[in-house]
Each structure stands twice: as C-alpha cells, then as structure tokens.
C-alpha cells in the first residue's frame, strides 16, 4: 500500500512556519507498511560461532590460569607463614633442648652430688678396704691406657742427655 501526500505548487515563497493561506489546518497523513519476516530463518554462521566459543574458552582458560596463579601465590604465602612458624618452633625446641642439657649438667655437678650424698643420704667416702674391684680395670681405667704403653713407646728423635 502506497502512501501519498497532496502537495500544492509553490507560487511564492513564504516562511516555513507560516501556513499557506486558506489551507492552514490541512492534515497530513502518514501510512505504515507492516512487513512480516517472521517466517524467515536466519542462516547460522558456523565459522563465527566457532570463533565465539574459542574466544570464550580462551577467556575461561586465561581466567582459570589467573585463578590458579593467584591460588598458588596465596598458598605459597600461607605455606611460607607455616614454614616460618615451624622453623620458630624448631628453634624453640632446640633451645629448650639446650636448656635441659645445661640444667642436667648443672644438676650433675660433682660438688652438688657430693654435698647431697653426704648431707641428705649420710654417705661417706669408702675406706680402701671397702673398695673391691669387680673383674679388673673398668672403662675409666681402661681409658688411661695400659702403663705398659710407656715402656713399649718408640722413642722420638728428641733431645737426649745420653752421651755416645
């Protein structure tokens, strides 16, 4: 359906906003043409779709990668804290160990043990006839090596007062 507009020939120029004489209120009609293309089916562009999904997949991958990187980074920081905490704990325990060894050494002070033995337990030093050796020299004496060593010792080339 066509739409037509009635127009008069221009006789003389008049201002655009001033209606023509005698036709000042003549209506103008507009007609709308409805086009129904609902039955049309758009052809799918597989190439574009592939590109779209590829782009989307790449975006997801990048996002996951960033997420993984961030997760690793924060895990690294977290384990760093844990590691430092464990190091501190280790150092503390080692320090405690040293303290305990020091305390043990102080408690084993011969003077302290001697005093305790004599004052609290009423012990006295044994007289010579009370000392009986059980099975010969013990480790303490063995540590001093045999007196035979000196006799068998190969003499060094030091000074000697012997005259030829």
């Amino acid at each position: 359906m066509a739409t037509a507009a009635l127009t008069l020939p221009k006789t003389r120029r008049r201002p655009r906003n001033v209606p023509a004489a005698g036709r000042a209120n003549f209506p103008e009609f507009y007609f709308v043409k409805h086009i129904d293309n609902s039955r049309l089916v758009r052809e799918v562009d597989m190439e574009r779709r592939r590109e779209c999904f590829s782009l989307l997949g790449l975006g997801v991958l990048v996002f996951l990668f960033v997420l993984l990187f961030a997760w690793q980074h924060f895990q690294c920081v977290r384990y760093g804290y844990q590691g430092e905490q464990l190091k501190d704990e280790y150092a503390t325990l080692e320090e405690q160990n040293h303290q305990l060894r020091l305390e043990q050494a102080a408690l084993a002070d011969p003077e302290r043990i001697d005093t305790l033995a004599r004052t609290r337990l009423g012990m006295v030093s044994p007289s010579p006839q009370q000392v009986i050796l059980m099975g010969g020299p013990e480790p303490a004496a063995a540590a001093l090596e045999s007196p035979e060593l000196a006799h068998n010792f190969s003499v060094g080339s030091g000074d000697t007062p012997h005259e030829p």
Partner: protein, 677 residues
C-alpha cells in the same frame, strides 16, 4: 556514553598499571623490599667444652638482648624509668643514652628469660629484642682456669676458651627475612654460618673435683696464699685434673680478681726445692756416677761451696743415696750435683723440659727461669742441685716426675683430647715423648722415691691399699729485698701411685702456708687424699693391702641370699662397700640384715660405721703366689689350698693379678687374676 566512560576508566587503569609496573618498577620494588625484607646476622653457636667422659663444662644458649631506637621513643624519660628497675640498670645512665643516641642503643645485653618476659610485657614502642648467645658454665668454678671464660662479645679471654677461640667460635651466618605489615615473617632465606667446634678435654670432672676439694681444704687450713694440684696420666701425658686456689666462677668473671684467674699450673714460676733432687739424682744415676746403695758422707749436715755454707735441715752422717733422697739431705744432693758438673747437669735439666715451655694447649705458659752454666755463680750448681736458684712451673715438674714414673720418657703434657664438629673429628697429633733417662734409671728412681714415702719425709703420702712414691719439697720464697724469706715458703709434694706400675702422677704445691710449712706436713696429705680417691675411681687394682687399716670384716657363714651375692661378685664381707666399684662416694654402712626383698638395709645415716660390720683381724696372713703363666686350673687349685677366693677374668694363661705376688693377705681375700692367650 557509558561505553566511553568505561573505556576511559580502563584506559586510566591500564596507564597507571603501566606506569607502576614498567616505568616505576625498579624503584617501587626496591622500596618494597626495603620495607619487607631485612637481613640479620646469625651469631654462630659457640662449641661446647666437655670433660673426657663427655660431661659438659661449657655450653652456649640463646638469650635475648634488649635494645632501643631512641628516635622512636615518644617519651624517653618514662621508658628509661620503666626499663631501669626491670633490668637492673642505672636509670640516669639509660636516660642519657636515650638522649645522646639516635638510631640504636643497647639497653642491656644477654638478659635473663624472666627479665626479657617482663620487658616484653611492658610493650614499649621503640624497644626491641635481639637474639644473642650466652656462655654458661654448668659446673661453676670447676676447672675454671683451664676452661677459661669469654667476654661480652663471646670472644674467649682465658683458658681453652682463649687458646682455641678460632675453632670454638665458628663463623656467623645470615638470614634474609621477608615480613608482612605486622612484622610476621612469611619467608626466609638462610646462608648458614659455621658452628663452632666442640672440645673434649683430657680432664675428668670427678678427679678434678676431688683435686679441687682437697686443695681448697688444705689452702684454707694452712691459710695459704694459694695452691695448685695437678693429676696426670704418666703414660700418655694427659692432664686429668688441674686445680687452682684461689679460683673464680667463670659465670661471673667480673667479680673475680686477677689472682684468682691466674692459672698457676702454667703461669706461675716457683723454686721447686727438694722435689728437684729427683732430677739431680736421676742424672747422676744415669751417668753411672752413683748407685742407690752408695754411701755418701753428709758431713754432719753442712757443706761449704764457694765460700757459702749450706746446711741440712738436720745433721746427717753417712747415708746411702736412697736415704739421701728419703731424708732429703741437701749435702748429699749437692755432692751428687757436683759430680755431674755444670754442663752435664744443665743438659739433664733441659732434657727434663725445665726452662722451656711444655706447649700445653693453655695460654700464658711460662718457660721458667734457667740460666745457662755460663751465668752460674760458684754456688749455683749446689743451689740448683737442691732446687733453689731455678724457677719452674708446676706443669714442668709433674711432667718430669711422670717421665720417671713411666720408665724414662718425657711426654708432652696434653689437655685437649678431641676437637670435633658433628661427626668430623680433627686429627690431633699423637702423644709424643722423648727418652730422658733409661728404663733402668727410672726403675731405680721409682724405688728410691717409694722409699721416701715408706720411711722418709714422705710418710704422710702413704696410701691405703696402694704403694706410692714421691718427694717432698720446701722452698724459701724470695722476699721483697731479693733475699730468701725466713717466713714464706712453698711447700710441695710430687708423687705417683701405684709405685711399681704408676697410673697417676699427682703434684701439690701450696704457696706461703702459715704455721706448718713443710711439704711433709702441708702437701703430702693432699697428695694422699687425691691419689687414694683417684685410684679408686679409676678402678686401679690395689697393690698393697698391708697398708689397709687393720680392721677386717669377718667372714660369716653364708646364707642362701649371701651365696647369691657371691655369685654376683660380692664378698660376704663386702657389705660395707656395696657398689663400691661404681661410685667414689659410698653408703656409710649396710647392716648384715637383708630386707625381705633381698636388698641390703642401710645403716645409720650419721656417717658412723655400723659396729656389726667391724672386727679386728687376727688370722694368719697368706703370701700371694706369682701366678704368671699359670693355667686357670692350677691357679684355682693353689688358691683353694691357700684359702684364697679367686676371681678369674678371661681365658688362657695368667698375665696379671691383684694383689701382686709376694704380698701377704688375710685368708679368704679375693685374688683377681686376668688370663690371656
């Protein structure tokens, strides 16, 4: 429009990012690292010092030191007044330091844990802690001069701490710390330092304590200026104990005097007096100029030398050489010195290591005073023969006596047994020695020195259960005028035990005793105390039961329980020595009654001896046979015949026994015999 705004926003962000991440990258990174990271130097752990049984004598522990950054203190006056009472420092001094310093000042170094906790509780801004190490000496003043001490900066200043400082100290490490805004460390990188090496000394803390205790008691009793006692293994030269009086506590070295810190064993020169006669006589014996039986005319106790008359402490007539030593005759010793002649005598003195450093691993060692013969006066050879006009250190003298004890070899004394770091042990030079006199001469000297203890001036040095040998010495000190003092003496005794097979050599020197001043009275009893306890502790077999006090426990009828004890190695009569082989300190007594569970019941705790365990022995004595080379069966048969108990160790033929052959022992005595193939 929105799109344009978004585009602009993204553009700005991107531009800013580019600016920060590319253009400003280096500068910002540097600033961030400066804020987050700090490098601290980690002081190395100073190596520990142990005795020969690996008992710690010196250890280092981490402790806090408190410091302040004065520029961060908002109210320095108040902070000073809060810290001063907690840490025990002067408040005015602290306030001055806060005002004069800007970026750093120590408040107190190496504070006690409770002090650190209290400062921590104050939560003061600008006050921080620094971790440092502090040296501790758990045994207090035990072997203080030998171990030494460290200064505030952990550097060794005395003893082994100083001598081996390079090895004990270690090298510092570094740690790079990355911290967050709360100063919590989330990452650290370490450049490990080298920890200090640990040192094992030849000292034995039990023997050391025994020596220190006996010496301290005598120095106190004699009101002496000081004293020194050394115990040495004559067969290796190892020092087992090195005791000094006065002494100090290395944990509080600032409270000690220089005299207390002096190691008299190596840093003190004294005139040895009569103990030096062993050098004179051994040299004469070695040169075949005399023999132990030769009779020397002691000229009724006086001799004139270069116009000077030297007197004996009492007049002697004819004395054998053995008795010259036993009675400590100056005249006899001078005559033998004169036979040697100056040059030959000087060579022997040098050969014994006198006048030269022993090179023991301790600082401050003196070489002594020994002039060459060209500088001797006419009387010098006589004076030196009796131990005057010569200066020696105690260490030199004990080494010389050890040479006599071990058969004639002078070992270099040693106090460092091992230096190690983890499983790595430094290779130390083996014991070195040189022969000074022949084994025959040394044997003669041992017998002569045994005679000194047996019937001479050294009687107070007789040991219970052991033979001993040694020599007393009493030397006049030089007074302020350079003349020999009539009131100040150095009393000494040097000896070894057992006399025939010496296991230890012991030196005791007492400086300026008041009242009794002879070595016989002052030093010999200390020798006895130290030697007896040391030999028992070392489980050295007794070789002289005849010197036991004549109190012998009877041998009661055996009960089943007691038989069980026999099986375990305890004699029924040994109840008083239950466990004697493992500890130098023993219960006072045990009654003969056993508790229901079979354990011995302790006797009264008043230190007395339970009367039920002691009776006088009146039975016949049995002479111990010589079992050398005998088979076990034959030994057992002989012991059975003589009524002796037997304890056989090993298999094969008898190679060692205790008591040794020839000693008379009561019937029932247990004989220990070691068999070997």
């Amino acid at each position: 429009m929105v799109g344009v705004l978004c585009f602009l926003w993204f553009g700005c962000v991107a531009a800013r990012l580019y600016y920060f991440q590319v253009i400003q990258y280096v500068e910002l990174l540097t600033r961030a690292q400066r804020q987050q990271q700090r490098t601290i130097e980690v002081a190395p752990q100073r190596g520990a010092i142990y005795d020969r049984q690996m008992n710690p004598l010196a250890m280092s522990l981490g402790v806090d030191s408190v410091y302040a950054v004065p520029s961060e203190l908002t109210e320095p006056q108040m902070v000073a007044s809060l810290l001063a009472p907690v840490l025990g420092v002067d408040v005015d001094d602290l306030r001055d330091r806060f005002q004069t310093m800007h970026s750093f000042c120590w408040v107190k170094r190496r504070v006690r844990p409770e002090e650190a906790a209290r400062v921590h509780d104050l939560n003061l801004k600008g006050v921080y802690f620094e971790r440092e190490t502090k040296r501790f000496y758990p045994k207090g003043d035990l072997a203080a001069q030998a171990i030494g001490y460290v200064g505030l900066d952990d550097k060794g200043l005395g003893g082994i701490e100083y001598a081996l400082d390079d090895q004990i100290e270690g090298k510092p490490g570094r740690v790079l710390l990355a911290s967050d805004a709360r100063r919590r460390t989330f990452h650290s990188t370490e450049w490990a330092g080298i920890p200090g090496k640990s040192v094992v000394l030849t000292l034995d803390e039990k023997i050391q304590y025994t020596a220190e205790k006996a010496l301290a008691e005598e120095v106190a009793t004699a009101q002496a200026v000081g004293g020194v006692a050394i115990v040495q293994n004559p067969n290796t030269g190892e020092i087992l104990a090195l005791a000094n009086q006065p002494t100090f506590n290395p944990n509080d070295v600032n409270a000690s005097s220089a005299a207390a810190r002096l190691d008299r064993a190596v840093g003190w020169i004294y005139e040895p007096g009569s103990t030096f006669k062993s050098v004179t006589l051994s040299a004469a014996l070695e040169e075949n100029l005399t023999n132990p039986q030769e009779i020397i005319n002691c000229q009724n106790g006086s001799i004139v030398l270069a116009g000077h008359t030297i007197h004996d402490h009492k007049p002697f007539g004819d004395l054998s050489v053995t008795d010259v030593l036993a009675n400590s005759s100056d005249v006899g010793a001078i005559k033998l010195g004169l036979r040697l002649g100056e040059d030959r005598f000087y060579r022997y003195i040098q050969a014994y290591g006198l006048g030269t450093k022993t090179d023991l691993e301790l600082p401050g060692e003196e070489r002594g005073l020994l002039r060459p013969p060209s500088h001797w006066s006419g009387i010098s050879i006589g004076e030196i023969s009796i131990g005057q006009e010569i200066g020696v250190t105690p260490l030199q003298m004990i080494s010389a006596y050890s040479a006599i004890a071990n058969g004639g070899i002078l070992f270099q004394p040693r106090i460092v047994h091992d230096v190690f770091l983890g499983a790595h042990h430094d290779a130390l030079a083996p014991a070195t020695g040189r022969r000074v006199v022949s084994a025959r001469t040394a044997e003669m000297m041992r017998q002569m020195l045994a005679a000194v203890v047996d019937h001479g001036t050294g009687k107070p040095a007789q040991l219970g259960g052991y033979t001993s040998a040694g020599k007393t010495g009493t030397a006049q000190k030089i007074d302020a005028n350079g003349a020999y003092s009539k009131s100040q003496y150095v009393a000494s005794f040097i000896g070894f035990a057992p006399a025939l097979r010496p296991a230890v050599t012991v030196l005791v020197v007492i400086d300026s005793p008041v009242g009794a001043h002879h070595g016989t009275d002052v030093a010999a009893p200390v020798f006895r105390s130290i030697a007896e306890q040391t030999l028992s502790y070392l489980n050295v077999p007794q070789d002289n039961p005849s010197r036991w006090p004549q109190i012998i426990t009877p041998k009661p009828a055996k009960t089943p329980d007691q038989k069980q004890e026999d099986f375990m190695g305890f004699l029924p009569s040994d109840r008083g020595s239950f466990g004697a082989a493992t500890s130098p300190v023993q219960p006072a007594s045990f009654s003969n009654q056993l508790s229901p569970d079979g354990t011995p019941q302790p006797g009264p705790l008043d230190g007395g001896v339970a009367s039920s365990t002691v009776v006088l022995g009146d039975g016949p004595l049995v002479t111990v046979p010589d079992f050398s080379g005998w088979a076990a069966r034959r030994v057992a048969q002989e012991c059975e015949k003589l009524g002796l108990d037997l304890n056989v160790v090993g298999s094969g033929l008898a190679v060692e026994q205790n008591p040794i052959a020839g000693f008379k022992v009561p019937s029932g005595t247990r004989i220990w015999v070691r068999m070997a193939r």
